[in-house]
């Protein structure tokens, strides 16, 4: 399944596969972790190696305050919360 996460990140899944891959990734902390780390690897190779450090979480919090429907399914911080 991590291969699918890699393809999801790159927009390389067939359209019919994307929703299922999203659901599976969001419901599995290890796969969410992989989505975030694979993204970090790419950014680091392009010279931007900053850890997320709650940056995405704060975006989601602000969006929720502004009325956006957010589930925090891809929030890197929620991976750690769920794992306690």
């Amino acid at each position: 399944m991590s291969l699918k996460v890699s393809l999801l990140l790159d927009g390389e899944l067939a359209p019919a596969e994307v929703k299922a891959a999203l659901e599976e990734t969001a419901s599995d902390s290890r796969l969410r972790d992989r989505y975030t780390i694979y993204g970090l690897v790419g950014d680091a190779l392009r010279g931007n190696s900053t850890p997320d450090d709650g940056f995405s979480a704060r975006i989601f919090e602000r969006m929720q305050r502004e009325g956006a429907r957010i589930e925090r399914g891809f929030d890197p911080l929620s991976v750690m919360k769920n794992e306690g």
């Binding site: 991590s2 291969l3 890699s6 393809l7 999801l8 990140l9 790159d10 927009g11 390389e12 899944l13 359209p15 994307v18 929703k19 999203l22 659901e23 990734t25 969001a26 992989r34 989505y35 975030t36 780390i37 694979y38 993204g39 970090l40 690897v41 790419g42 950014d43 680091a44 190779l45 392009r46 010279g47 931007n48 190696s49 900053t50 850890p51 997320d52 450090d53 709650g54 940056f55 995405s56 704060r58 975006i59 989601f60 602000r62 969006m63 502004e66 956006a68 429907r69 957010i70 589930e71 925090r72 399914g73 891809f74 929030d75 890197p76 911080l77 991976v79 750690m80």
Partner: protein
């Protein structure tokens, strides 16, 4: 896959109300957008505000996105306009001549306050070094595929053409390269996760 259709299915799902699809796009692009915004805006706290505003505007304007350009190009333009609006409201934040935008962007660390956080700076350095060390240890064909994709910006199909391999092999090489590096990054990220990741 062409840039214009790269994120299209995620965008379509987000337009249809799938919150996770938009969240996946936020996590994917937040670091790149932050670096772009830092070319315009001085203080790290203001950069973060502008990035948040950018994603809110993108969310609200999502119905108008028709896929004529790549999603990231559309997001990039929103970030530029949001940063310029911020500068109109805060003229004192306009960057001066000696403060080259590229240098500022390189120095930007999302989430860091004006008083720099040495621990986070150290972690960013450790991540960069770990990724580079892992890349050097990778099988050359895996490193080549990952570098062509992430650094050179080539599409999977282009990489397949350049290397004379099936696209399925490109997929697995990029995945295996990422997984190899991810395993070496995990111990570096672990202390940060215990605090806040």
């Amino acid at each position: 896959m062409a840039e214009t259709i790269k994120d299209l299915e995620l965008v379509r799902l987000a337009q249809a109300g799938d919150a996770k699809a938009f969240e996946a796009l936020v996590v994917k692009y937040q670091r790149r957008i932050a670096r772009h915004v830092a070319r315009y805006v001085k203080a790290a706290g203001d950069v973060e505000d502008v990035v948040q505003e950018t994603f809110i505007r993108a969310y609200r304007g999502l119905a108008a996105f028709r896929g004529d350009s790549a999603f990231y190009s559309w997001l990039y333009r929103i970030a530029t306009n949001t940063a310029l609006n911020h500068l109109q409201r805060h003229p004192g934040d306009v960057l001066l001549g000696d403060d080259a935008p590229e240098e500022r962007a390189d120095a930007f660390e999302p989430g860091i306050s004006d008083a720099e956080d040495p621990e986070r700076m150290l972690m960013a350095k450790q991540i960069a070094e770990t990724v580079q060390r892992a890349l050097a240890k990778l099988q050359p064909e895996l490193a080549e595929a990952l570098t062509l994709y992430e650094v050179e910006g080539k599409a999977y199909a282009e990489i397949a053409d350049m290397l004379g391999i099936p696209i399925g092999t490109v997929r697995t090489r990029i995945f295996r390269a990422r997984e190899f590096i991810a395993k070496r990054l995990e111990p570096v990220l672990e202390p940060q996760r215990k605090v806040r990741w």
